[in-house]
Amino acid sequence: MAFSLDTNCGLLNHNIIGPIYCTSTIFPPDILITQFWFNYRHVANTLSVYRSVKRLGIPDSHIVLMLADDMACNYRNPKPATVFSHKNMEFNVYGDDVEVDYRGYEVTVENFLTPRSKRLLSDDRSNILIYLTGQTGNSHGGNGFLKFQDSEEISNMELADAFEQMWQKRRYNELLFIIDTCQGASMYERFYSPNLMALASSQVGEDSLSHQPDLAIGVHLMDKYTFYLLEFLEEVHPASQANMNDLVSVCAHRVSVSPGHHTDLFQRNPGSVLITDFFGSVRKVEITKDTINLTSSVKSGSGDMQIESLTYVDQLPVAEIIHQKPKQKDWHPPDGFILGLWTLILLVFFQTYGIKHLKHIF
């Protein structure tokens, strides 16, 4: 993990002796849950938010990125290892330094709600940003649930309960939830835990629209809401004073759908919450003037090694293989068929010759 000293740390003194300890308190998971090539725009959405968040200082160890399908190295991508968010291939959001934690079939509701590995180690001082994009149940006449991989779904009640559990276990300080799907507002209707702020790209009953198609790639590149969100975030830098009210109004006047927001559960006034509280990294630095003693590593003595002549193994020892006997691992009692056959033979024998021969045999 690279320690970057940005101006928030306030540390420019070159004469420091000792360890520099920076902690970051923001943990944003980015999640994209739909498959198939025509959902290219969902990957572009997620990666643009991921990029902004990394640019504003959050390290990869504090980001969980889940992408349900591979668009960059998909055989249909005319420019491999790239994902573009602007048409005419201007802006490659995939970059050279991306780390995807969950990809392909690993993106499931279970891994989202209770990951067994690669999880966020957040505590009660962490601010968490969750960005979801995908498809909700719109064409099938329902709202209030989000489809995972076309085969599973998560309902708004499950999400609300998951956040409540996190609150009970003191896993977050404040949480910002952004969702870019059709009828996105239905997903945050049921939230009841404190310190939650939610933004959605469309109200219940409305569809979220995609922004621009690219004729070379053949699909839509991004969704409208995230496009304007990205434009807004590109102007934010680590020391910016932009606050949540600016974020909430980012898309209101430009497009035909009306994004929603839910700030009732948030205790602070949204106007006083900085964007960088969620999107950027606050690093606390502790300076010490003590010297550190580093002991050199112990050379393992060559006297410890056995002085047997070590050799390489033959890669294809034909003679050895031919004479290799199959290993009999366990002794199994004889098969029922064999037992039955022997019983039959003995029975027939004693039937024919009489029981008096028994003493000659045993």
């Binding site: 290892a81 990809r103 590995s117 085969s151 580093l294 050379k299 393992s300 070590l310 890669q315």
Partner: protein, 566 residues
């Protein structure tokens, strides 16, 4: 920031740091079809013992990456080989690769013989590696892991021939992309900032016909007498650029065209940093510039090849412009005949049965040699081993060794290993019939109509060499020719991977309206409907109205006062 280092001196003894060295190398081999094959090899050698506990436990890492060192000591790994490949190696067009790998991800590990629970270690190891390489290696479990009994002998030192400590698994579906390259590059001592690794730009590397990155860790001899051993970490990246897709149709290559970068310096931590260009076919096939007087000969894959060597640790290589760019221009066309070649396909029709055919070609004009074929088939393709036939030149060829471990449903895949003697200049065909199983509905992937993958077969062989090979193992040998230890001079060991298979299993119809409508209507009509009728329906006798004649007759009878008709 400055740290004050205090060298620990105890009782007048001075501790010398453990010796480690790093070498990097790039081999460029122009292929006969006009494509170009670039193979990067980065080797870190470290004289230490990972399996020590307590006071001597390794905790200071310099060139060797710490994440891998911790993995080796925690899981008592003796040898680890992992590769991620996108694309399939076309042996007929490109010859043999320096280090072969199957499409998808492949992991095989030899554990130390002190390990008591190999399966537990294996499971944890795959999870840790999946986090390190950002890949879905956690999908490796007992249903796709096998223990080969004769293939995959250790490539490093060791006398472990007990195959209980070997585990092998492939994930043919695994995608390789920038997120796998990024952590792989971070394991290098210079990262991607200096040396040969600056050439690794993902936009160019993935726009290729074949891309394979691998990590190989094994203990090797430090010197010729082999009195002590050292750990070797080899990171290899093989890429083949196609002159149609990335070359815009022109058979002309340069470093800048391949990687969109040129070299400006060697990695400062490397003890040797070289670029080798295979000029054996120069000048008939292509011409190379800038020319260099440094030449080196090596016997690789049974053939003596000449290489132009460019040493990046010397400033003259970079010339006036401080940048090094190679240029190769093709002149002729030539066909290639590799000695050993294998392919595999599925025959049959329908979704019930099928047949797997594996075809192995021996193109040597007069020598026969043995090959070891290893097949690992998932449990949902139920093989009928009694239909296994091996034919060469339309005659039955009986294998000298067969090891078959049948599959257990949802628990273990099939493992079939056979040692077959290939007659000279022949084609050998191995066929086995199978039946497709019907899976439970939760076991289908979210896109089941794509099909299910079957991992590549592995053909390991000792191919007779046309040139005598040296069995001495020196440190100065170029890295690409010293990967496989050579035991005898007249043949070299090679591994060929076949294509993975994609089979369709009988898939239920997952479409939602169909299921909902059918099920709901059936339940309502048959279940609830009949029950409701049973509980509430009463029967009443209802007399139909009599026909006209009868009505008339009854009318007359009523008038007469006589009893009516029924």
């Amino acid at each position: 920031a400055a740290f004050l280092l205090n060298d620990g001196t105890k009782n007048g003894e001075t501790f010398a740091p453990a010796k480690d060295q790093f070498q990097e190398e790039l081999v460029i081999r122009p292929l006969h079809s006009g494509d170009i094959y670039a193979s990067f090899q980065f080797r870190t050698l470290w004289d230490t013992d990972f399996l020590q506990e307590g006071q001597k436990k390794v905790s200071h890492y310099r060139l060797f990456p710490k994440s891998l060192g911790q993995v080796l000591s925690k899981f008592s790994v003796q040898e680890l080989h992992i590769s991620f490949t996108q694309g399939f190696w076309r042996t007929m067009q490109w010859g043999q690769p320096f280090i072969p790998s199957p499409p998808g991800a492949e992991l095989w590990v030899w554990f130390h013989d002190t390990v008591s629970d190999v399966d537990g270690n294996w499971k944890e190891l795959t999870n840790v590696l999946s986090g390190i390489f950002c890949a879905s290696l956690n999908f490796i479990d007992m249903t796709n892991t096998v223990q080969p009994s004769a293939s995959f002998k250790p490539l490093g030192l060791g006398n472990a021939t007990d195959h209980r400590f070997l585990r092998y698994a492939t994930l043919p579906r695994e995608i390789v992309c920038t997120e796998n390259l990024t952590p792989w590059k971070k394991l290098l001592p210079c990262g991607s900032k200096a040396g040969l690794a600056v050439l690794m730009k993902s936009e160019k590397l993935f726009h290729s016909s074949f891309h394979s990155q691998a990590v190989h860790i094994r203990p090797i001899c430090q010197d010729e007498q082999c009195t002590s051993k050292a750990w070797e970490l080899r990171q290899t990246l093989n890429v083949v650029f196609d002159h149609y897709t990335s070359g815009q149709g022109k058979k002309e290559w340069s470093l800048f065209k391949m990687f969109s970068r040129t070299l400006t310096e060697a990695c400062p931590l490397a003890s040797s940093s070289k670029v080798y260009v295979d000029i054996t076919d120069n000048p008939e096939l292509f011409e190379l510039s800038p020319a260099t007087p440094l030449l080196s000969q090596a016997v690789v894959l049974g053939d003596r090849r000449t290489y132009s060597v460019y040493d990046l640790t010397r400033a003259e290589t970079f010339g006036q412009l401080r940048s090094f760019n190679l240029l190769l221009r093709w002149k002729g066309d030539n066909m290639l005949r590799p000695l050993l070649h294998a392919e595999r396909y599925v025959a049959g029709f329908g979704l019930q049965t099928g047949e797997i055919h594996t075809v192995i070609y021996n193109n040597h004009p007069y020598r026969a040699f043995p090959v070891l074929l290893m097949d690992s088939v998932p449990w949902y393709l139920q093989l009928y081993i009694h239909t296994l036939t091996v034919t060469s030149k339309s005659r039955d060829n009986k294998p000298s060794y067969i090891h078959y471990q049948p599959a257990k449903d949802r628990h273990r895949p099939h493992l079939l290993e056979m040692l077959i003697q290939l007659p000279p200049h022949s084609m050998t065909e191995v066929t086995v019939q199978f039946e497709r199983a019907l899976l439970k509905w939760t076991e289908y992937t979210p896109d089941p109509n794509h099909g299910f993958y079957v991992g590549s077969s592995v053909v390991s062989a000792l191919v007779p060499s046309m040139v005598a090979m040296s069995t001495n193992f020196t440190q100065d040998q170029p890295l690409f020719s010293s990967f496989v230890p050579v035991k005898e001079e007249s043949s070299y060991f090679v591994r060929v991977y076949t294509e993975p298979l994609l089979v369709n299993l009988p898939t239920p119809d997952f479409s939602m309206p169909y299921n909902v409508i059918c099920l709901t209507c059936t339940v309502v009509a048959v279940g609830y409907g009949s029950f409701y009728n049973l509980l509430t329906r009463t029967f009443q006798v209802d007399e139909p109205s009599p026909p006209l004649a009868k009505r008339l007759a009854n009318f007359i009878r009523r008038i007469r006062g006589v009893p009516l008709l029924a």
